[in-house]
């Protein structure tokens, strides 16, 4: 077999993944914290004030990365859920379910910082425009996935049911992203473009990109540590889990 395929196969085994993730974790946490520090410093101190919004625009450095993460994590969860449903891979079930609370946290941050930003900019905490609403629906979808996962006794069955729900809810993602194009709303259109020139000053742009990368690392770190614990719980009858418990007891 192809060595890469073989490695993926090995990664799918819980004890191997546990150790592998354990080795990666410190690096991910380090990268995440360093990125957050640099990004926030760049955004709050180095970037010049916006000519329209003055300093209020600095909320962008937490709002937009969180918004992106809320969508990214949902997609990640749905993809893993799909793998879990079709191929019944335990690691995918665990990863999908570990991603859900992190995604919910980022969605919450996006909503909270967005409405804080909305007060000075639009003069209201909340309007019923398409992007805001669909983001709220996204939060409910996350909560639904979490609730369903918690409500079922058998852990693997719970993961599969919740993954299924996550898949159904994926229709909401394009609505969140494209709603600003489909309906004219209060909310900002796309300002940062992957291809073609972005619409903002590069001194404002780079901290945003750093924050975007840092939140990715934060997600990865949190995901791995959650998945590790969940695997430990899921496999508590197995030998390797006992050995880890014993090792921790001695330490």
């Amino acid at each position: 077999m192809n060595p890469l395929v073989l490695w993926f196969h090995k990664l799918g085994s819980p004890p191997y993944f546990y150790r592998f993730a354990g080795r990666l974790l410190p690096w991910f946490w380090g990268a995440a914290l360093a990125g957050l520090a640099i990004g926030l410093y760049g955004g709050l101190v180095l970037a010049p004030a916006d000519y329209q919004q003055s300093d209020a625009f600095r909320i962008i450095y937490v709002h937009v990365p969180s918004a992106w993460m809320s969508l990214f994590i949902y997609a990640f969860m749905a993809v893993n859920g799909f793998i879990a449903l079709v191929w019944r891979i335990k690691l995918s079930e665990t990863l999908a379910m570990a991603a859900a609370p992190i995604g919910a946290a980022f969605t919450f941050i996006c909503l909270a910082t967005g409405s804080i930003w909305g007060k000075p900019m639009w003069g209201t905490w909340w309007t019923w425009d398409a992007r805001l609403t669909s983001e709220l629906v996204l939060l409910f979808l996350y909560l639904g996935v979490l609730g369903l996962h918690q409500a079922i006794e058998d852990r693997r069955q719970a993961a599969r049911a919740a993954a299924f729900l996550a898949l159904i809810g994926i229709v909401n993602l394009p609505i969140v992203h494209f709603s600003v194009n489909w309906w004219n709303t209060l909310h900002q259109g796309d300002t940062v473009k992957l291809f073609g020139p972005s619409l903002i000053d590069s001194r404002m742009l780079w901290p945003l990109l750093v924050m975007a990368v840092a939140t990715k690392f934060l997600f990865a770190a949190s995901l791995l540590s959650r998945a590790r614990v969940d695997l430990l719980e899921l496999e508590s009858g197995k030998d390797w889990a006992r050995q880890i418990a014993l090792a921790e007891e001695r330490a």
Binding site: F140, G147, A151, I152, A161, F164, L165, I168
Partner: protein, 227 residues
């Protein structure tokens, strides 16, 4: 020795479910009563001014019917689960999605259809403007089956769970929001004298899609939650 065709399986299922509803026709009135009461609460809560009530009439009727439908969803598979009929359905070699489509159809006929019939009365309670009523009815005709289909998928996911009521609401409502938006959009357009076709067409498209996909999703979800 005949193994029976899929058509005859569907016919048997429809016949059984309809005669069950007929035996308990009192229960079938409950969603209607609930919707009437929710609508009746609004004049108390908002005061009895006709112009204001007329303004919110269509939306309130929509929300009331949606909530009534939501609360009746729980019963879709419950009795079949409790007496083991659901196991027999799942074990039958006929396509499960088709059998479930029959069950959903009966559910729609016996809960949503009565709600549709009282909708004009509910509108009247809130002084719904005459020209809006036909649009509201068309929107309801298109959206109630859609709601039943989407709801069935979520019920299938929570079947067999204790205390599933609230969880079901949490799962279902986010998925109901788009349907509500289009239905209400049509009514509001009618109220303002604007063209109403576009949102109704969207509803129709959604319904066509759900008619095909929802039974399949429902079957898959049911298999997951029965294992």
């Amino acid at each position: 020795m005949s193994y029976g065709s899929t058509t005859s399986a569907c016919r048997a299922l429809l016949q059984r479910d309809l005669s069950l509803v007929w035996r308990q026709r009192g229960d079938a009135l409950n969603p209607v009563l609930f919707a009437v009461m929710v609508v009746a609460l609004f004049p108390f809560a908002l005061g009895p001014e006709p112009t204001m009530l007329a303004r919110i009439a269509a939306g309130t009727v929509l929300v009331a019917l949606l909530l009534a439908g939501l609360l009746s969803l729980d019963a879709l598979f419950r009795s079949d689960l409790e007496d083991g009929s659901l196991e027999q359905l799942v074990l039958s070699p006929h396509p499960l999605a088709l059998l479930l489509a029959c069950k959903i159809a009966v559910h729609w006929l016996t809960t949503a259809l009565p709600l549709l019939l009282v909708a004009p009365l509910l509108g009247e309670l809130l002084y719904l403007p005459q020209p809006v009523l036909p649009v509201l009815m068309v929107a309801l005709v298109l959206s109630t089956p859609l709601l039943s289909l989407i709801g069935a998928v979520c019920v299938a996911l929570t079947v067999g769970m204790r205390r599933s009521g609230m969880l079901l609401a949490l799962l279902v409502l986010p998925l109901y929001v788009p349907v509500l938006i289009f239905a209400a959009g049509a009514c509001n357009a009618a109220q303002q004298g604007l063209p109403v076709l576009a949102p109704l067409l969207w509803l129709g498209a959604g319904l066509a899609l759900a008619l095909v996909l929802a039974p399949l999703a429902c079957a898959a979800a049911l298999r997951i939650s029965l294992s």
